[in-house]
């Protein structure tokens, strides 16, 4: 493309001037904080680490990228801005989604088996082990040599000594 009246140098200058126009776009910006309020964001993440995302059930609310998790994070953020305590927010979520949202289930009559079941199994296992070991010891102890058998054995040992000599 050749424009009348534009020599090579002029073209270069024009390009240079155009580049200057682009300059404001290139200015480095200071990294903007991801959230409006980093303090609330930090609190929100800390709280949602312990909450389950109900759509993607093995992910925490903090780590999930599901749309639903996003909405709940927004809800938590807004409630934090409204000066609700962490406990109030958790109660709000439990009232709507049940204890299932909590990664740490609360202690109550329906969760007693969950909390203490493992210890019950441990105790049952320990009892079985003790009974088994006692029975086995009896089996090992039983074949004791009688007086006569011992004399026989001694005689045999003496005999073999004599043979070896």
């Amino acid at each position: 493309m050749s424009v009348p009246g534009f020599s090579g140098l002029n073209k270069f200058l024009l390009l240079f001037a155009l580049l200057f126009l682009l300059l404001p776009y290139g200015w480095a910006k200071e990294a903007a904080p991801v959230a409006e309020d980093p303090e609330i964001e930090r609190r929100m993440i800390a709280l949602s680490e312990d909450l389950r995302c109900l759509v993607c059930q093995n992910e925490s609310l903090a780590g999930s990228r599901a749309d639903f998790a996003n909405d709940l994070r927004r809800e938590i953020r807004e409630q934090m801005k409204a000066n609700k305590s962490d406990k109030e927010i958790v109660d709000f979520l439990v009232a709507r989604y049940g204890d299932f949202v909590l990664y740490r289930p609360p202690m109550k009559p329906t969760t007693i088996l969950l909390w203490f079941g493992p210890f019950v199994f441990l105790i049952i296992g320990a009892i079985i082990l003790v009974v088994y070991l006692k029975r086995r010891r009896k089996q090992i102890e039983e074949p004791m040599l009688s007086e006569q058998q011992r004399k026989q054995a001694e005689a045999l040992l003496e005999e073999s000594k004599g043979n070896n000599a």
Binding site: L54, V55, Q57, D67, F68, D71, L72, E75, V94, A95, R96, Y97, G98, D99, F100
Partner: protein
Amino acid sequence: MRFLLPLIAFIVLVGFLLVGLNLNPRQVPSPLIGKPAPEFQLEELHASDKTLTSKDNLGKVWLLNVWASWCVSCREEHPLLVELSKAGIVPVYGLNYKDERDLALQWLRQFGDPYVASARDPEGRTGIEYGVYGVPETYVIDKNGVIRYKQIGPVTVDALQNKILPLVKELQG
């Protein structure tokens, strides 16, 4: 005899695992059952100048079906809802969850509109109040505005015949 105890323990374990395999992890019991349905005051899908509130239906038994045009399983249950609304046993209201008006209206034109009216919840806030986490969900709400049943996932023929309709009849009676 030596193997009897471990065998019994093994069978019990397999029994537990088998039951576990058949449980649906998505079936999270809602704590809202037996509680008053959360209040809402939302724009109506068909007429944006009208509002729909949770109290409009006090005095009758009604169903609240959470749906969206982007929801695939909603198509699965939709013919059933259309049939249910034709039968006129119980009024079905819709909660159009996180959807766009145009798409929602087009969807209803395409598949039929079983709803007396649909309330728009574009940001899913009312959804959170109702503990919605997997669309579609259907709530049975009694005359006093108390949630009596929640169907998570599509309404099936089985759920309709064995749970929802008997419950509705009982509540209406």
